[in-house]
Symmetry: C2
Subunit: 415 residues, 2 copies
């Protein structure tokens, strides 16, 4: 273990021990101070960000990446607003999750507690720095932030402002730190810091997530890859189906809960396929279709890879399936386990689809775009888990805690 990560994580642990005992009142005050400080020090943050943007442009970074990297006054206001929203949410720490008095009189309580030290590994967008810091602080966790090197100046400036605000509010500044070092080796040290770091959350593209999952000895919550399907059943209201397909695909394309694949029951294919092809093409979507779909003008024939591809763009794969069983089989073979939707008027079909499709979220007659912490009413979210351990689906504040059992007796011993 490198001395660098050990030193930083040890400071984080000490700060986490203090933060774990902080009242909601003091945590909310720190969040408010962080929000105020971001706006107050926006000039310094924007100056640092401008340097990152200039360097990225000089390095030939593509325009959409530059856009994600770039901050402006309204994005900084958005970060501040996000911190205030977290302050407004209930404290997830100290909830009695379960409790009972045992047969022998022992009082058993399972209580939510912070993890301790959480590492967040993320890509270009510097606003994640403030979001993650806010969610971790409210849930009582010290955070080690590992953004991309392209945003290092921005992230350094934001963290400096946030730390100052936390300290001024009376909590230890070390609850928010940048993970030390630069480049892939430094990331690796974070991934191997088992015992020093309690949890790692990767936020970013499939490559980043795969690296973290493969190389980490620290427990990981895998987030965000979404090869989401919409299945239009034989018993679907086809007008509704059209709206849901369009919304799932085109409402926002660069996000993990947008649809990437369309499956249509054979019984409605003759009517529905021409309509959905026309509507999708009208919306600018490129269709990668099976034989039925590819019979239409402008539809590209799908390759085997298309069924497994998260396009994150105005592309969709599309196929006709003989029945709901085939739809479920297709989803099992190709889904990333994020979100799948069925459009159907049949209770039996809905019941079967929701029982047999094993994804974080299964929608009935609703857009895949609803898988979102905000939409679910959780307030802030730090990502969407596609793994089954600990938390699945949107990660709100309660998912950022562990539990412990507190057992009280009056001299109880085992006989």
């Amino acid at each position: 273990m490198s001395d660098l990560i050990t030193a930083v994580a040890t400071r984080a642990r000490a700060a986490a021990n203090v933060l774990a005992l902080a009242t909601r009142t003091s945590k909310d005050a720190a969040l408010e101070a962080m929000a105020v400080a971001l706006v107050e020090h926006r000039a310094a943050i924007l100056a640092a960000n401008a340097e990152d943007v200039t360097a990225a442009e000089a390095g030939g970074t593509p325009a959409h990446m530059i856009d994600r990297l770039r901050l402006d006054e309204s994005r900084i206001e958005g970060m501040a607003q996000g911190l205030r929203e977290v302050a407004g949410l209930p404290d997830p720490v100290g909830t009695v999750v379960r409790g009972s008095t045992l047969a022998n009189g022992l009082e058993l309580r399972q209580v939510s507690v912070p993890f301790g030290v959480v590492g967040v590994v993320y890509e270009a967008r510097p606003n994640v720095t403030a979001d993650a810091a806010g969610i971790c602080l409210k849930s009582g966790n010290a955070v080690l932030l590992r953004g991309s090197s392209s945003a290092l100046r921005s992230n350094t400036a934001i963290v400096e402002v946030l730390r100052g605000a936390v300290e001024a509010s009376g909590l230890p500044a070390d609850v928010i730190q940048l993970a030390p070092g630069e480049g892939h080796d430094a990331v690796k040290q974070l991934l191997r810091a088992r015992g020093l770091v309690d949890l790692l959350i990767p936020r970013g593209g499939a490559g980043l997530i795969r690296t973290v999952v493969e190389e980490s000895t620290v427990p990981v919550i895998e987030t965000g890859v979404g090869n989401c399907h919409v299945y239009v059943d034989a018993a679907a209201d086809l007008e509704m189906a059209l709206e849901i397909v369009l919304n799932s695909k085109t409402h926002r394309t660069s996000v993990c809960n947008s649809a990437e694949s369309l499956l249509v029951h054979a019984d409605v294919a003759e009517v529905f396929v021409p309509k959905v092809v026309a509507a999708l093409q009208e919306a600018g979507v490129t269709i990668h279709g099976d034989a039925v779909f590819a019979g239409h003008q402008g539809v590209l024939p799908a390759t085997e890879d298309d069924w497994d591809t998260e396009y994150l763009s105005l592309d969709i794969s599309a196929a006709v399936v003989p029945d709901i069983g085939a739809a479920i089989e297709h989803i099992r073979a190709h889904s990333s386990g994020h979100t799948e939707a069925i459009v159907t008027g049949s209770v039996a079909a809905a019941r079967r689809f929701t029982a047999e499709v094993d994804s974080a979220a299964v929608m009935v007659n609703a857009s895949t775009r609803f898988t979102d912490g905000g939409e679910f009413g959780f307030g802030a979210e730090i990502g969407i888990s596609t793994q089954k351990l600990h938390a699945r689906g949107p990660l709100g504040l309660p998912e950022m805690t562990s539990t412990k059992y507190v057992v009280t007796g009056d001299g109880h011993v085992r006989r």
Copy 2:
């Protein structure tokens, strides 16, 4: 990925898909059939076990290991009884964990679902084979069992009997399989089977658990290492303290919830230390003590290593601490995060200890031995988690499930 593990895990996945939809009635019938079959085929199981025992004896395996390996009629009855107890527990699958109607009318339900395919890696005791199979079956999970090679004949015989019973009861036999291959390479393949296996649970000694945790890309629940502390506070009832120390250390020594370290507040040291030394020595315990303890006849001076040692024997480390803060600091530095106990009559001391000690279970005026699925009223347990992700403390049936969100609308799209 080896073809062997892929083939076995693929069969397990197909079986898990069927099992996930099985009713409680059919799962309980399978468990009862498994119990009946174990007793019915006990001769075959005992014959296989006798071969394992003979081979182990010939190989010079120590007597206590032979004892753990050896089956007899009563241990087989115990395995059958364990399966019937699991049948008697509520079905953990299909529980609505959380539910609400969102502001836009979407109906949101978070429902417990099986993980899918669970790997259990364990050491000598062949009864774990039946225990793990029963818990996984009831929680809807297909299991891949990886016992030690010393118990391979016993485990093979048990699994054959269980599979026959499951199949006869109408569920797929492949919900219970031995992980393929032999030796460390085969274990490694299981550890790298991410995507094929949803969860790994190691059950065994510290070495096994470390290997699994370090080398696995499959999500792991770490179990069982317990360097448990008893802290006798200044405000303790010293008679109660004596009983709790003795029970925590000597009730059973080879288990993870037995105490390995004793801390005594300086204010009561003069009275309590001589008493506890005498009582522990009377019970056959070797004390590895700090300067105060080592001043007593027969107490060995503790080395730095002693504070971190899980003896699993009639040994205990012991120290006097100046105050409760020092006790908490000592525990933070040396505990494995399993169970710590305070003996105190002071509400303030109990409140501080339970808040600041970050372990799976914190006992107030009760023996560390109570951290146990059976004692907590959970019925069966597959281990005791000492990690913070997913489940902490005894792993009962509910901890063997994940969740998914089912969201029902009537054409909802995002605007």
